[in-house]
């Protein structure tokens, strides 16, 4: 990996973020609106004698959910901007490794997610008087890191699908995550899901982190071994994601789909 090559792609991402209203809205504006929306919902729910932590947990949940959404979106859609501009071939015939190209997109995704995460923490703290950090710096940071890892794993496979099968399925690169959302127990405990679906929820590493964060807010304990298991599962997801992507890319170069997308 060469820093110069990564820098070239980072630079493109920076120019793109700076120059396009779409990116600014998708990433920054909609996220802030979502945080505000859930802040008001939780404020409403905590009125009239409801237990405060359950209402507040919605706000905490949406903050971490936005981290997942934005990281995955940015990992996948950064390449879509090149596809839409018919510029992907130019990028891939420059002396840059595919690994460097994606490393840059992941870095951009992390920077964006960090930005919206901090922004969300500030909104929660000063608009809704909910301090997320009181749950503990370690759980918050460790959960954040795991949300990012999960989103990158999903993100590379989704863009790989477009490389392999074409832009007619491009909607998957920004919509799939909404199908995963109910299964990851973001806003409610896994126990709320129908019994047959509950084992599926535990296939997603981030489920454990949302459960952990809720347990912390309720003042309950959460088993350490589950956190370790979830982290290990997450790393397996990341490795599997990268492997699947490399197979998808090879298939796309054999079938010619990757150039067809770009014409």
């Amino acid at each position: 990996m060469k820093w110069r090559n990564i820098r070239a792609v980072l630079l493109q991402d920076l120019y793109l973020t700076k120059g396009s209203m779409e990116v600014i809205f998708d990433v920054f504006v909609f996220t802030s609106i979502n945080i505000l929306l859930f802040g008001f919902i939780s404020r409403y729910l905590s009125q009239g004698g409801n237990k405060g932590f359950e209402a507040q947990s919605l706000l905490v949940a949406v903050i971490f959910w936005e981290v997942i959404r934005i990281t995955q979106y940015s990992t996948s859609v950064s390449s879509m901007w090149n596809v839409w501009s018919h510029n992907l071939s130019n990028m891939f015939i420059a002396p840059i490794r595919v690994g460097e190209y994606f490393c840059a997109h992941v870095m951009t995704a992390v920077i964006k997610s960090l930005f919206i995460f901090v922004n969300a923490l500030i909104i929660a703290r000063y608009v809704f008087h909910v301090s997320v950090l009181r749950l503990g710096a370690f759980p918050v940071l460790f959960s954040y890191i795991n949300m990012v890892i999960f989103s990158v794993a999903i993100g590379v496979v989704l863009i790989g699908l477009v490389f392999q099968y074409g832009t007619q399925i491009q909607v998957l690169t920004w919509a799939t995550i909404y199908a995963i959302e109910p299964l990851c127990a973001v806003f409610f405990p896994v126990g709320v899901l129908p019994a047959v679906i509950q084992p599926v929820a535990y296939l997603f590493p981030v489920t454990y982190f949302f459960e952990w964060l809720r347990a912390l807010q309720a003042g309950a304990s959460y088993e350490v071994h589950k956190i370790i298991l979830a982290t290990a599962l997450n790393l397996v997801y990341l490795l599997a994601g990268c492997y699947i992507f490399s197979r998808q890319l090879a298939a796309a170069k054999r079938s010619g789909q990757i150039v067809r997308n770009d014409l």
Partner: protein
């Protein structure tokens, strides 16, 4: 004998049962402009895409500068470049920003100066700060030319660079390529389905039809080959 910059042997691309490029051999010498001429569907683009590593060949060997492309991919890519009417630059950012990205990727020294110099040469320096999205097709082609020459390539692969341009602009673009080439030892592989274009700028022409090389010629022999070319084109369009 002059140095070979590209040597292709037995290059083949199959899409399922369909053979798009069928066991072709050719080479390009340093400083030579070779035309790859053929009707739509002849396999020209597939050939170029394999040469760029965008499409995996089913069979055959590609050697640039006497080096196996598979084994020296990045080193080769640093020394070649690509231009096509079908590939444009990033629409949402400016001309200068686009070229800056590639200048970093190609490790161009004194990139600011180089970018200005190339934009000036192709007559589009005044568009430097325009969004790529907002410039015309002809202007895009010139900006793309600047991109294609940014790394001082020894060989440029051009896939129908003038497609979708008005005839008078095509003429201008060809003149620019000719002039640019006169000033340095540059090799070009130039695909087209337009006989006159190829006749004008190429030192040698390879005819392709149905994935195969059917004829090689030099421009002075081309008039006698007009009929052959028309016949190939007619056969193809009748299918």
């Amino acid at each position: 004998m002059s140095e070979t910059v590209l040597e292709v042997t037995g290059l083949t691309k199959r899409f399922g049962k369909f053979v798009a490029v069928n066991n072709i051999d050719f080479s390009i010498a340093r400083g030579e402009i070779v035309g790859l001429l053929g009707p739509n569907g002849a396999g020209k683009s597939s050939t170029i895409q394999m040469l760029l590593g965008l499409l995996t060949p089913s069979d055959g060997q590609i050697r640039f500068f006497n080096k196996d492309f598979n084994k020296h991919r990045l080193e080769v890519l640093q020394r070649i470049n690509y231009l096509s009417a079908f590939n444009t630059l990033q629409e949402m950012i400016s001309v200068r920003e686009n070229l800056h990205v590639f200048a970093v990727a190609y490790n161009v020294k004194k990139s600011k100066h180089k970018i200005d110099e190339l934009l000036d040469f192709f007559g589009v320096l005044h568009l430097k700060n325009e969004r790529y999205q907002h410039i015309s097709a002809g202007q895009r082609t010139r900006v793309n030319l600047a991109k294609a020459f940014l790394n001082d390539p020894e060989l440029v692969l051009m896939d129908e660079p003038t497609a979708s341009l008005d005839p008078d602009i095509v003429d201008k673009v060809l003149s620019m390529i000719e002039q640019f080439r006169r000033e340095r030892q540059l090799s070009i592989l130039y695909t087209s389905h337009n006989l006159h274009e190829v006749e004008r700028i190429c030192d040698r022409v390879i005819f392709m039809s149905h994935g195969k090389i059917v004829k090689e010629a030099v421009p002075k022999d081309l008039p006698s080959l007009h009929n052959l070319f028309l016949q190939i084109a007619r056969e193809t369009s009748e299918e």
